[in-house]
Symmetry: C2
Subunit: 505 residues, 2 copies
């Protein structure tokens, strides 16, 4: 079994224990690990490292595709082993360590980190730890459920540790398309004009001599959990689908829609799920992550093709999809995140990008990352890669958070990840605001009328009225712009005093 998965026999003598492999990683090193939104993370070497980190000083700079699964980010944070973490995470304990200032977290566009690594701006990559389905006859590494930055890590690292995971179906081989842009000035166009185009090779070819260790594991990806669609997320989905139908009718979008990208999380998943009951057919995804919704759309016969960088599923969906993964080989491609999120391809294909906001302001600026402008949630992930270059950049959010004590539509966002220039449409369960071709004062009206929750309408109207009296392209009252946020800190709610009283009366 193992030997079938390591087809270059000269590598068989590199098989060793996770502890032995982990000993290649020294204090102070920069390490690149596979793993993207839980999928395809290395499972044994990180654990061995954490065990060592409890016994001896061991601090690393950790680069990944995106967030790790199996509680790894949390355990690494608890062990105090992370000096620097990039480009994304989604773990409560790591988040807390970041917000205490203990871990230097560099929150970066997912397509971009590898450019900086390649150019040397992030220093030397000492070691890569890559989960693989197999190693081919030529020593090429076949990834598992994500590609992420694994290919570039393997290429750029001084030494490579491969984890062959027997629990990942051998049939994953053939799903991947590994294309890595050449170094400039030899960089060429990415000749990808359809979501289903293959432009690379099925595995990551490096000099096999760089493979310093092979560890055999047998453990599935950690499944994700997804809140079931609720009335609000279903309403968001409905508003967006109605809008897309109108755009098609008006001739502004093609009948089968351009390829779709959808962000992580419950809302984005619900929006995609909603397409099952829409009139649209022959849809394509050109996205970063395939969640359950992608496979529901396949089942419903709605989806013709899906391209992404990782597959992250709930346990029931994983149990269904993974054993049958061979059936998806002509309908799914997994690519390096540099390609799945590449500005060139995103713009060329004219994606509809659907991402989730923490908060939006009335002028169309979006905060995806920082609660109260200070505390990191997860990171920008790929949302900027897509929003900035898509044909139609949509942000979704519930109009309220924390049982109505927080409005997700605010006078001014406390942190900007997506500027007014990059946000075309905002959708809440209340409705949809189409901001294209609107000046800021018009955007404010559209967002207030369509997206804002009624319980915040009066206080927003009051703010805008007084702001407009002061003039400007984008009217604001600077000394009050964050007053909703400071009020929530002081009183527990963004609601103005009279509304709070009315509520408790």
């Amino acid at each position: 079994m193992v030997r079938e998965r390591i087809r270059l026999s000269s590598l068989h003598d590199r098989i060793m224990s996770a502890d032995q492999a982990a000993s290649l990683i020294q204090d102070g090193m920069t390490v690149g690990m596979s793993g993207f939104t839980r999928a395809g993370d290395a499972k044994a070497v990180p654990l061995a490292l954490i065990a060592r980190g409890k016994a001896e000083p061991l601090h690393i700079n950790l680069l990944t595709g995106a967030s790790l699964g199996n509680d790894l980010d949390g355990m690494l944070a608890d062990a105090g082993m992370l000096k620097r973490r990039l480009p994304f995470q989604a773990d409560a304990r790591l988040r807390a360590a970041i917000n205490r200032g203990e871990v230097m977290f560099i929150d970066q566009h997912l397509s971009e980190m590898v450019e900086q690594l390649r150019s040397g701006a992030l220093g030397h990559l000492d070691c890569a730890v890559i989960e693989a389905t197999a190693i081919t006859e030529t020593g090429a590494i076949v990834p598992t459920t994500s590609v992420g930055n694994s290919a570039s890590f393997a290429i750029l690292a001084e030494r490579v540790i491969v984890e062959i995971n027997l629990a990942q179906p051998a049939e994953l081989e053939g799903l991947h398309d590994i294309y890595i842009p050449k170094r400039r000035p030899a960089r060429e166009p990415i000749e990808l004009t359809k979501a289903s185009d293959r432009v690379g090779t099925p595995a990551i070819q490096i000099d096999p001599a760089k493979i310093a260790a092979i560890v055999v594991t047998n453990q599935p990806d950690s499944a994700t959990t997804l809140q079931a669609p609720d009335a609000d997320t279903s309403a968001i989905s409905r508003h967006l689908i109605t809008f897309l139908e109108r755009e098609v009718l008006a001739g502004r979008l093609p009948r089968h829609l351009p390829p779709l990208q959808a962000g992580i999380g419950a809302i984005a998943n619900a929006v995609l799920s909603g397409l099952k009951d829409s009139p649209f057919t022959d849809l394509e995804l050109y996205s970063e992550v395939l969640q359950d919704s992608a496979f529901e759309l396949f089942e419903a016969g709605k989806l013709a093709f899906a391209s992404a960088s990782s597959i992250v599923l709930t346990a029931p969906m994983m149990a269904k999809v993974m054993p049958a993964i061979a059936n998806y080989r002509d309908r799914v491609i997994l690519r390096p995140q540099e390609v799945s999120n590449h500005p060139e391809v995103v713009r060329r294909l004219g994606l509809i990008a659907i991402n989730t906001a923490i908060e939006c302001d009335i002028y169309g600026n979006v905060n995806s990352t920082h609660v109260n402008g200070t505390h990191m949630m997860n990171g920008i992930g790929g949302s900027g890669d897509f929003a900035r270059n898509a044909q139609l950049s949509v942000f979704v959010t519930k109009s309220l958070a924390k049982d109505g004590r927080i409005s997700s539509i605010v006078p001014m966002v406390t942190h900007v990840d997506h500027t007014e220039h990059d946000v075309d449409v905002i959708v809440t369960e209340r409705g949809l605001a189409d901001l294209r071709g609107l000046a800021p004062r018009e955007r404010a009206r559209a967002i207030m009328e369509n997206c804002l929750h009624p319980s915040y309408r009066d206080q927003m109207a009051d703010y805008v009225r007084r702001a407009v009296a002061r003039g400007g392209q984008t009217p604001h009252i600077l000394e009050e712009a964050f007053s909703w946020h400071t009020r929530a800190r002081e009183t527990g709610s963004m609601l103005a005093a009279p509304a709070q009283e009315a509520l408790s009366a």
Copy 2:
């Protein structure tokens, strides 16, 4: 002379007066005009329109490449004729009308407006008014000193008015490279891998039947004025060049540097000028606008090639360059702004993008457009196209504005055009902060130590200390984040009270 410039003789009967041509434009129409940072604007038809607008109700939606010259934006604003203006302007009177809320100004990425126009999201384009050097035998329009959006306007408009400007040298013909991306899903890669590559045609080919009027003019572009480099802008230039030299030495940049983009205005011009005295040779520009500095670099033998969308010069430089423009035909290309600024090409070529900030904050967010977060200066222009997709995104600004009463480095910018994710380097006359690979708390230190003016050091250190005590990835005190701005409004200066007293003592 005129007949030589209109080589398709069947069009000769379309020659008419500006008043006659302008009568094709009716109240309420959407009009696309040539013109980009003063260069190549239509000169007679807009004046005829303005004259009519004084006598009868005449309001238009005006789309251009970027800002117009010849005081046109100001006169149109004064005449109250602009309902909607996009995507950029740089005129004091239009700016005032925008900030009063009289003109709906849609401030857009320069590469992107035309995508929205093409898809129908900006409505129907009734008429295009394009300045031309000539019309060819096949009826193709040869632009003058800018291409901007002229090609797409001519293609998309129902009717086209051409102004043949005899004052523009006939030798401009051959300088342009007109490539317009196909409609999706037929969109293909832009096969441009060097600044000097030609991928299109020398003129804008449309059905000649659409050319409804031809007006003959004889008036040069309005020259620009540029503040001479001063001690501060020279220092900015020196810091940046020293940094680039170090990057080359460290092997992170190639010896001749990647192609450079530089924004508009005095500082960006001074930075480029400074390269004359640098060790760099065989430089290339892949930029949006060529200012005087580009031609100084040609003269100094430093510049091998320059690609842009427009040429805007001071009067003395114009007098030198324009008569000799034929000599530049193998060293200069003018492209549609969709191509000069295209994310695909910007990322592929790995540009060094140098743009000017109004203010930056200590975490590396940049405001390029809104004074005090409310009042529009010019617009984002192409800075977002470049900053988001460049290899190295540099923002320059003097550390002080308004004689030191304003610090251009603030705790939090009042408007974000370029997020922390898109800003690699900040340079003031004090020094340079390299933000790559730094977490926000580290960025704050780098910017405070290298870029902030010493007169603001104490009050910034105090803010940061208290903000850090509250925690977070990006520490802030929301109720004080804009206190420098509100203090400036109240006291005339951002300086804290003690510093103001010390100053006046």
